[in-house]
Symmetry: C2
Subunit: 345 residues, 2 copies
């Protein structure tokens, strides 16, 4: 392999007949530089295919121009099995980073790992984006540690009044309400909930409570006997739905806390001889790409992932610059497809 000889700003300076400092000014876009000087430098930069050395620049400025995204995947040790919903946020985060001229370091972590004291101290990144489901109670202490260290971070997740740091999240309660209203309007009376509706999973809990509130308005209840814990995977959805059927309690609708859970549940219901949506209406949450192609297609709640990624990056960059920033709750929206039995495609 050919040895690479990188051009430095000194090479550019020689070629353009200016000082190295001037080269640096041009590359940083300083307004001081004479137009003709600028032109000569830019010409030399092109000719030598010069790129500013990121490390030298960062060392000098004490800014890395890099954000780190940590993706937690607590329950499942199976790498293949990352929730596509997070993937779609990851996609929009990479795009937002590109727009803002930031590089993105990505790392998958266990919630239990020692991630809370690394990236920023080693200057690898100016700030952290935290993403992932997992028991919030495990999480909480680490967030407190981040705040105590002064680490700049933004988290995707439920916006709660007492939480450490800043979150960007979806209006899960409203999403749940939409589902409850939809099922009630379709005449479903006994709605089951598949997902861990506890304080450890605030997003799921909010979805649960939102649905419950809507059902109450319709004179219905979300019977705790029809709730089964599940983390966000097809596997867990399948197991939970099997358990639900075996409880023997009648139900005519399933609100799955995520699309993956819904997909597993549909499979389990089919195996138990229950028809979706005739016998059981099924509604998910997230609107992952596959939701349109399940059989039957899945009624679900869309979260605006494009906006989410943009907001995560923008908010974090504000913190990095020392500006004020605040948590944001994004709206949720119902998408009606065939699995809930409404008259829709």
């Amino acid at each position: 392999m050919r040895k690479r000889t990188k051009a430095t700003s000194i090479d550019i300076a020689h070629r353009a007949g200016v000082s190295q400092a001037t080269v640096s000014r041009v590359l940083r876009g300083s307004p001081l530089v004479n137009a003709e000087t600028r032109r000569r430098v830019e010409e030399a930069v092109r000719a030598l295919n010069y790129k500013v050395d990121r490390h030298a620049s960062s060392l000098r400025t004490q800014r890395s121009g890099t954000l780190a995204l940590l993706l937690f995947e607590e329950p499942t040790p199976d790498h293949a099995h990352i929730n596509p919903f997070f993937l779609s946020i990851l996609g929009s985060v990479t795009r937002a980073c590109a727009r803002h001229g930031q590089d993105l370091l990505v790392s998958f972590q266990q919630l239990s790992d020692d991630w809370h004291a690394d990236y920023e101290d080693s200057m690898k990144a100016d700030g952290l984006i935290l993403l992932g489901y997992g028991d919030y109670r495990l999480y909480r202490d680490k967030l407190d540690a981040l705040v105590a260290q002064g680490t700049r971070f933004v988290r995707w997740g439920a916006v709660q009044p007492d939480q450490p740091g800043i979150s960007i999240g979806c209006d899960n309660a409203h999403g749940g309400r939409l589902v409850g209203e939809h099922l009630a309007a379709l005449g479903r009376r006994r709605v089951a909930f598949l997902g861990s509706a506890s304080r450890g999973y605030p997003e799921f809990l909010d979805r649960y409570r939102g649905c419950e509130a809507a059902l109450q308005v319709a004179g219905l209840a979300l019977d705790p006997a029809l709730q089964v814990d599940a983390d966000s995977s097809e596997e867990a959805g399948y197991t939970a739905a099997m358990a639900l059927v075996e409880r023997g309690q009648p139900f005519d609708a399933v609100f799955a806390a995520s699309d993956l859970i819904a997909i597993g549940a549909i499979r389990a219901l089919a195996e138990k001889g229950l028809r979706v949506p005739e016998d059981v209406a099924v509604v998910g949450f997230d609107d992952i790409p596959t939701a349109r192609f399940t059989n039957p297609s899945l009624t679900t709640v869309v979260q605006d992932t494009a906006r989410a990624g943009e907001l995560l990056v923008e908010t974090l960059l504000k913190l990095v610059k020392g500006e004020a920033a605040e948590s944001v709750t994004l709206p949720a929206q119902l998408v009606v497809r065939r699995s809930s039995g409404a008259a829709a495609g």
Copy 2:
């Protein structure tokens, strides 16, 4: 927000009562250092929560300790829609990077973007991992440019004799053969192929040819009239299957070039009143997580993504160190589920 004051190696040196050079030796694991000295330094490092500044270190050593993964997503401009198969490689790559003490920069690119001359010159990364489907012919020129520049990179994709650089790929031809044999053994006579089987998509083409070869052994043909182009998405699979049915040519099996295509195809077939697997057997490729939960569950070909990620990283690190490295083809394996109509779960 509290102002962060980072400890430097000088702070550690003071506290441990040694020179800054010795601190550096301890942190780089130099064998020269006295055990007691080492202990004192380590103690100071812990006490001050010191982390080596990555940029200073990289500037000095001219090594960034970072790899960059570029993910191409040519045909679909929809960020939400990254092939889960690549996601699973991404997952195993991040893990492999962690094991090798490398950071990973991730960027989603259009095949047409200007990615071929950036990461390495700016020292952001020591090497590149290239991932993604897309027209290989568009790709080819850029790969040549990378080689000419001396950029170190490894590509996930078909291993071909004349290609620039190094690839890690799956034995697509063998995978295709397994599918052909499976369908022939089940008595299917008219096998359709959904996917772009052209020189621009060497993976798909290899799958096509492998299947064709196996069918020929069984005295059957892969009728070109039953081939419909599709890139790797549910959408494309749906559209392609619709087009196939409308051609009016009889067929009793579909080999979809990827699981996403298969999922879209199953949906289309159902809408056209064709039963899977009774009327049409469907087989995919990739074994994405959802494949076990489609309705019916999907017979497909597994690629070893865990090994793939490990090999991509290991091979790239060899190149970075200036060692010899070579392309590798990984084995493919058939997973029989219900969509092909065999007697399996």
